[in-house]
Symmetry: C2
Subunit: 412 residues, 2 copies
Amino acid sequence: MSLNIAILTTGDELVNGEMSDTNTARIAQLLGSWGYIVRESRAIGDDEVEIETALKDMSGRRDVIISTGGLGPTDDDLTARIAARAFGRRLVLNEEALAQIRRFFAEKNKEMHPRNEKQALLPQKTVILPNRLGTAPGFHLCHEQCDMFFLPGVPREMVDMLKEQVLPRLHERSGGQAPRQERILKVFGLSEPKVEEHFSQAPLPEGVELAFGVEFPFVYVKLRACGDQAGALLDRAEMHTRKVLQPFVFAVGQETLAGNVARMLTDTGLTLALAESCTGGMISQMLTDIPGASRFLERGGVTYSNAAKQDWLQVSEDILNQEGAVSKACAQAMAQGIRQAAGTDLGLAITGIAGPDGGTPDKPVGTVFLALSTTGEERVQGYRFSGDREQIRHISACMALEWLRRYLGNLY
Amino acid sequence: MSLNIAILTTGDELVNGEMSDTNTARIAQLLGSWGYIVRESRAIGDDEVEIETALKDMSGRRDVIISTGGLGPTDDDLTARIAARAFGRRLVLNEEALAQIRRFFAEKNKEMHPRNEKQALLPQKTVILPNRLGTAPGFHLCHEQCDMFFLPGVPREMVDMLKEQVLPRLHERSGGQAPRQERILKVFGLSEPKVEEHFSQAPLPEGVELAFGVEFPFVYVKLRACGDQAGALLDRAEMHTRKVLQPFVFAVGQETLAGNVARMLTDTGLTLALAESCTGGMISQMLTDIPGASRFLERGGVTYSNAAKQDWLQVSEDILNQEGAVSKACAQAMAQGIRQAAGTDLGLAITGIAGPDGGTPDKPVGTVFLALSTTGEERVQGYRFSGDREQIRHISACMALEWLRRYLGNLY
């Protein structure tokens, strides 16, 4: 029987519209990846009566409650006091918690404010959940059949404690191991039905379950397995998937497309220059988001005007007049031009019509040409992407990065 | 007495981590801007028993429930049936709803699938809430003291119906008008305490309440007023705020910094070229996000290497050797160089150290130089921003846009 789990997030900012509650999705995602199903999530303002009512109601109907928020040092941080009252415990100074808070300040060479002592006032008979990244210790409280985990609201503290403190206890309550393990392979360039078709022709090893997610413009392939052999099964399933979907898998787990391209450029020592028209600097921006991009990115030109294409990239007037700025010939000339101007190993160029205006019957909105110039070869291709301006720009930039990934990985 | 309002969102994807629930924050924000306070929000999977339990529990404790999701044509869209059962109504074919669905397909010249008829099966004695943007009509059901509004889960349909259908009914139940109106002025370059200080020296007109929000790197000033005169009061308060915080207010309401700069460039007919180093294309990207950017943006150079700065921007070797690429002199030369290369009215340049590496004692991470070159004048300034790489890049790009806004608005 699977655990019946609920989430409770507290904080005025979550219900007055000042902030989006991101903790719920983080918790649900992490638990889901281990096979735990969240039945319900509640967000409630900093109101004692509301929180107490919710805690009592939920504890009677759930096996597990994961609560976030309200553990800070200020007056509107009410969670510990409410939990004590709701479940008939006294609120006491927890020496272990106090020692942890003191240690946190000592390690940071900061003075501890007296009000931080309040964070060690916890319900009696609770187990402390250490917080490595902040001052607020969490706590674990059992009432009748319900395991309640109280975590701080700061996302990175909450996630760390969820992984380190809560998950092992859930595994234990589930009979010693997680119901399920998950590995996510990220796919670009195949639609979800296409991916499914590939798997129907070459099924996964037995015992591995398949699920899909879509995060535009990517498809996420979720491989899931249970039991002692889950890790080994997922290794085999990952190999199988990479072979079946070759060359469309661009990342696994937390990896990103731009991150993998940056790593491959750094590893190979190759240098890159970019010439962007319709993406307007987005490719540069995605690559320079990554620390150390100056090791491989020599320069990028956002050549919006024809003059810029002629001047910086040596695109000929003939091409611009006869083929137009959005054409195969122009993309190719841009890639060659930027590579020569920058003296780099690779020159990548993109030109297209992101809309909403500027389309023609011949070249409708979404028409995009990509070109890559290297020592050994020239490559150019046209696309017709659909979507709004933002989507067309985004998928175009991703396709450009994907070209680099395939070139660098010898995947053509 | 203010209305006691709760939100109920349904859908497996909201609790299994596949999607973040954005509807809750949207609803809370919109209601909050009219002075309505949300007490609680629940997210629940597509489970009949769970949803019915939640609806019954909430309807007994709240004046208003706003529910989203589960109104679609497929089998896991359960909301209408559950609502009927929970509140003892029969589920009947609602002719008005059916006519609306038929009209929606007819207007789109699409054939209606038989399963869409299911969307007209609604509880008896409900009021239809028309959906202008999709197939699923919403409905309004009263049970005892509770007003329940059932809306589709698609965000743009939900928001439109919330504004058009739900808000007027809430105003009515609140005695004919909204408890409060709100206007948000967006501020860049002043911290929240500084903004507060300005207001303490020049208080707002009586009857206007002041609140703050922070969305890095901006401060939001929220002006709020009640009663018949709220609109006029907010007009006066906005004028007052603009005068007191001059020149730091860059936008009001839904306006954005990049959007306002783009509009001012378009209106004045001035042309722009950019030279970016540490921001790596982010400024170009923000401006080209806006349709029609090709009217004012001639080109942008992401000049990461010294060679690119010399070659494209004519920055002298002397400056690079003696002052370095991150210096006042280099920023100024870059701005002049890009303006000349592009032949534009304005040349804007930025160079700095975004980190995490590359800092020195003299020029630590966060050191950024901005320069603007125009027909009439040259301007250059150094900054020390704090934060991580992402924050430093973001605040730098915003400061560059703010320079343009002030120049174009004669606000220096």
